[in-house]
């Protein structure tokens, strides 16, 4: 697995985002207040602009139905686009306002104070 150094943790303010240029592609990287890191495509398919890193982070509880029919509540942390406010699950890239839209998500590693991204084939290609 190849990784690439993006920045230092303190370059991203808690509950904020930055955009990184990775092999010619724009990736938005987010840091939550409890220092979890997430990465999604920076391109917002609704406004067709590279702006997601400048959105607001939020959380909401969604209900999932388990196989036995019981419901489980789970908190989804998302980014809301700064242009028309559609929300995307930070962990999966799934758009919460349109089932048909899902962004690529990428794996981020925090090593000491370095923020690293794992290069997938899709990104490397």
């Amino acid at each position: 697995m190849t990784t690439q150094l993006i920045c230092k943790l303190e370059d991203i303010i808690p509950e904020g985002g930055v955009c990184a240029l990775i092999e010619g592609k724009q990736v938005a990287i987010f840091r939550t207040k409890d220092d979890q890191l997430f990465a999604l495509d920076n391109y917002d398919p609704f406004s067709k602009a590279n702006v997601l890193s400048r959105g607001l982070i939020g959380g909401t509880f969604l209900e999932d139905t388990a196989e036995d029919g019981s419901t489980i509540k789970r908190e989804v942390i998302y980014i809301a686009s700064p242009i028309y406010k559609q929300r995307f699950d930070l962990a999966t890239g799934q758009c919460l306002d349109d089932d048909g839209i899902k962004l690529n998500s990428h794996t981020i590693i925090l090593k000491d104070n370095d923020v690293l991204i794992c290069l997938k084939d899709s990104l490397a290609a």
Binding site: A49, V51, I57, I83
Partner: protein, 878 residues
């Protein structure tokens, strides 16, 4: 599908269901057929004479405003495709052979059917007047017709237009001609307008109102001939007209209409709107086809929408039921549903006629007609209210025992229409004095939705009852949008939307919902309550507020709202580390984000007063950074197209030249608009610019629930439009008059006079107090106008709190405002001196490059964002 593909029409083993006509009703039939799964049993073929799929004819006239035919489209082609509906455009059916079960397409090919649905609509009737074949004579039915009208009307020498026919459609067409800038006439054969829907007195009031709008109405005129003139003012057209027969006159109009009373009317364009006729040409031209027509034309159908031939149906405006043709879309839709159900084997549903009541706004005049408008029912009683001064006419027609409503006419005021229609449709008993239903200033007997039976039709376009809407709400459709999408109510002509909303509200209360004022799922408090918590407990961060009074993570709704509350209370620099991530991108980057991700730059130009030197700086900066410049509606200059990474450099230049941020991004004071005032203006009685500067500099940067705008006019002529602002100040001989809670925007509201003849000191005191009181008590994103309307006790209450200090908080409000004023900093000045803060103004955290998806093209000598199509082209070229 092209003609060559026609071999496919009999390709599967399924029998064919053929629909002739893809108009509004034909399309509705297809939708119903899909809903009932008929596309599984049949191959559905739709033949359309027009070159485009079904569109909304009801809104046809809007084409003249947007000129975009796609806005009228009704057909989701993908849906047709995925459900295997085969739509054959541009293919007219010319013959039916009911013995062989086949139809013939123009050109000769034939297609067999098992079931045939005729939905051919109707065509405009053009009276057989000599000369009606001129290229400037038009009809009003299809998009193609409108394109032709537009072409004629846009010729520079076409100035006058006449509509022949003063019915519903004729008046709509007249409006279109007015919109196109023509001097417009309506010529009606009958002695009154809208003879079908209105009685003579109603028609007379309507005529007066329409004439007041500059349209000349000629009633009782019968056209006998249209003369094609040799037109002297239009050289290039002489040629064309000269070759046609019947040219007599040399005139400066194209046409002259001659009437049977020997009068004449010159015009350049004629629009025939003299009624419609059912489109039954296929049968008329082929009497052997086996389908029976009505005595006056039209395809005869029974209650199942079937013709005399059990496999052939007719629906919509081409059909005649019980001697009647229905020229409205709602009855056609009903027929379409019944016909689809019949073919699917459900024979329960039958057509039982339709209500032809109408309400519309004709050229800005409200007109309504219900049931028996002409009081033709034997023994019926009529009640009339007439107000010639305001041009209002209302009539009620009741049964002889005064118990039931049989009909109504309304001109100039249709406020009572929905109530009356429900009384009529549901056969509800009338109150003791039926006239109270139409008299002004009389307490109207309540006819709220709660009194309607569940069977009451709320949306007649889609035949949706109150019960159906309530059911949808019970099943979880809690918003108007959801109700519309699952019941379709309100998505046709739109006339029923207010009722739909009432039913929704009614049912929500029935279900025990309370209007929920929680900020969002993270805070079970209103904005006002949170404000008090923050202020009283001295809370300074979002996290503290969330931990102590909220739950969960926070979101894009509560974060900016709390940030605004924190700023309103303490006026800390908005980009302090713990406040920064709460801000919307606009506040975070101190600029307004644009559609392409660039930002705008709006320096403050207080009161709109600016020196030549500063103007030059603005121009120079715009030039150096290649920004689009525009004078805004707020008396200042907006520079657009700044990339994130350019913002600090741009602002460094501006701050150096003495500019400050204009807070165009903030929920805070925007501008104080001023007129030039007494220094220059011969009427001015005070220095309006001076006061505007004082106010703008005092309140700049103060964060509030929504933006605040002010205006100061130097005299009562009001050139600063101050009464449309949150705070409007107008100079008088004796001081300042203060208006509050005006609003432009989506729901305009005039400001209300709050206090008169104030000196400047008192004026500022009052504005301090009102603003702070607004900040404390308003809901999130509530402008002062909405806030003022929500205040119980109204303006008087506000005056008591502010002027009489009835709550004893006046001093506190002033002190809190003073704190905000004292803590003001220009956010951009602060930012450009802070190396740490500047770091965020980069597009990439790991590269100095910019966003390559931001691309501009030049238009009118300035940049604008490239469209997606333009970007593609630029890419291929580059």
């Amino acid at each position: 599908m092209s003609k060559a593909d026609m071999s496919n029409t009999n390709s599967t083993n399924k029998p064919n269901l053929v629909v002739v006509g893809n108009g509004m009703v034909g399309h509705h039939f297809v939708e119903k057929a899909i809903e009932l799964g008929l596309n599984d049993t049949y191959d559905i073929h739709v033949f359309a004479e027009e070159d485009r799929p079904a569109y909304d004819r009801v809104y046809l006239s809007s084409y003249f405003e947007h000129k975009d035919a796609s806005k009228l489209n009704l057909v989701d082609i993908e849906h047709y495709d995925t459900t295997a509906i085969k739509l054959h455009l541009n293919q007219r059916i010319v013959d039916i052979n009911s013995k062989n079960h086949s139809i013939t397409i123009e050109g000769g090919e034939s297609v067999t059917y098992e079931k045939l649905v005729l939905a051919t609509g109707s065509y405009p009737f053009v009276p057989p007047i000599e000369g009606r074949d001129h290229s400037h004579c038009h009809v009003y039915r299809t998009i193609a017709d409108l394109e032709k009208i537009l072409e004629t009307a846009q010729k520079s020498n076409v100035k006058k237009g006449v509509v022949v026919g003063g019915g519903l459609l004729g008046l709509e067409a007249a409006k279109a001609l007015v919109t196109l800038g023509l001097d417009t006439y309506v010529v009606e054969f009958a002695p009154q307008l809208m003879g079908v829907q209105l009685d003579p007195a109603g028609g007379e009031i309507l005529k007066k109102k329409i004439e007041a709008l500059g349209v000349t109405v000629l009633t009782g005129k019968n056209t006998k001939e249209i003369v094609h003139n040799r037109c002297i003012s239009m050289n290039h057209d002489i040629h064309q007209t000269a070759e046609q027969p019947g040219i007599h006159l040399e005139k400066d109009t194209f046409l002259t209409m001659k009437f049977t009373d020997d009068t004449e009317l010159d015009t350049d364009l004629i629009l025939f709107s003299a009624g419609i006729r059912p489109q039954d040409g296929i049968m008329k031209n082929n009497p052997e086809c086996g389908v029976t027509l009505g005595g006056r034309g039209g395809i005869l159908i029974n209650d199942f929408c079937q013709t005399n031939n059990e496999d052939i149906y007719a629906i919509g405006e081409c059909a005649v039921w019980d001697n009647k043709v229905f020229g409205l879309v709602a009855p056609g839709y009903t027929m379409a549903s019944i016909c689809a159900a019949q073919i699917a084997g459900d024979t329960e549903k039958t057509f039982t006629g339709a209500d032809m009541s109408t309400k519309l706004k004709l050229m800005g005049v409200d007109v309504g007609s219900i049931g028996d408008a002409h009081a033709k029912t034997e023994g019926s009683l009529s009640y009339v209210y007439q107000n010639p001064n305001e041009g209002i006419y209302k009539k009620l027609v009741t049964s002889s025992d005064n118990k039931k409503l049989l009909g109504a006419v309304m001109v100039g005021d249709t406020e009572d229409y929905n109530n009356l229609l429900q009384l009529f449709l549901n056969d509800i008993d009338l109150p003791a004095h039926p006239e109270s239903l139409i008299l002004p200033n009389v307490e109207k007997p309540a006819m709220g939705v709660e009194n309607l039976p569940d069977t009451a039709t709320i949306c007649s376009c889609f035949n949706v009852t109150k019960g159906a809407i309530c059911g949808a709400v019970e099943d979880g459709a809690y918003s108007l949008a959801e109700v519309k999408s699952c019941t379709k109510a309100g998505t046709g002509c739109g006339g029923c939307a207010p009722m739909v909303k009432d039913v929704l509200g009614y049912q929500l209360t029935e279900l025990g919902f309370e209007v929920n004022n929680d900020l969002c799922e993270h805070f079970a408090y209103s904005r006002q309550e949170l404000y008090s918590l923050v202020r009283v407990q001295g809370i300074r961060t979002f996290d503290q507020l969330l931990t102590e009074h909220g739950s969960g993570h926070g979101c894009e709704i509560c974060k900016p709202a709390v940030a605004s509350i924190l700023s309103s209370c303490w006026n800390d620099y908005v980009l302090k580390t713990d406040l920064a991530p709460l801000q919307e991108t606009n506040d975070y980057y101190l600029g307004n984000i644009q559609k392409d991700g660039t930002y705008s730059v709006v320096p403050r130009v207080a009161g709109g007063e600016i020196t030549a030197d500063k103007l030059i700086v603005l121009g120079q900066v715009a030039k150096d950074f290649n920004l689009y410049t525009k004078i805004t509606g707020g008396q200042r200059v907006d520079l657009f197209g700044a990339r994130l990474e350019q913002l600090p450099d741009i602002w460094e230049r501006l701050v150096e030249a003495g500019f400050e941020t204009g807070h165009a991004y903030g929920k805070s004071l925007r501008t104080v608009k001023s007129c030039v005032g007494e220094n220059w203006c011969r009427y001015g009685v005070a220095d309006s610019v001076g006061l505007a500067l004082t106010l703008e500099n005092r309140y700049k940067g103060v964060r509030s629930p929504h933006k605040i705008k002010m205006g100061v006019s130097g005299c009562t002529r009001e050139c600063a439009e101050a009464q449309s602002k949150d705070f409007g100040i107008i100079a008088t001989e004796n001081g300042w008059n203060l208006y509050v809670a005006g609003n432009g925007g989506m729901v305009p509201r005039h400001g209300e006079l709050f206090a008169t003849d104030l000196d400047t000191e008192t004026l500022i005191k009052y504005i301090d107090r009102i603003t702070m009181f607004y900040i404390k008590t308003a809901d999130k994103l509530q402008r002062t106008s909405k806030w003022r309307e929500s205040l119980e006790g109204g303006l008087e209450y506000l005056q008591q709190v502010i002027i009489d200090d009835s709550l004893g908080i006046a001093q506190e409000l002033e002190d809190q405002m003073q704190l905000l004023v004292d803590n003001y900093v220009c956010e951009w000045k602060e930012t450009i001196t802070d190396k740490e803060k500047l770091k965020r103004f980069r597009h990439f955290v790991n590269s100095e490059l910019g966003d390559d998806n931001v691309v501009f093209v030049t238009e009118r000598e300035q940049i604008r964002p490239a469209t997606e199509d333009e970007k593609q082209v630029l890419e291929t070229v580059g």
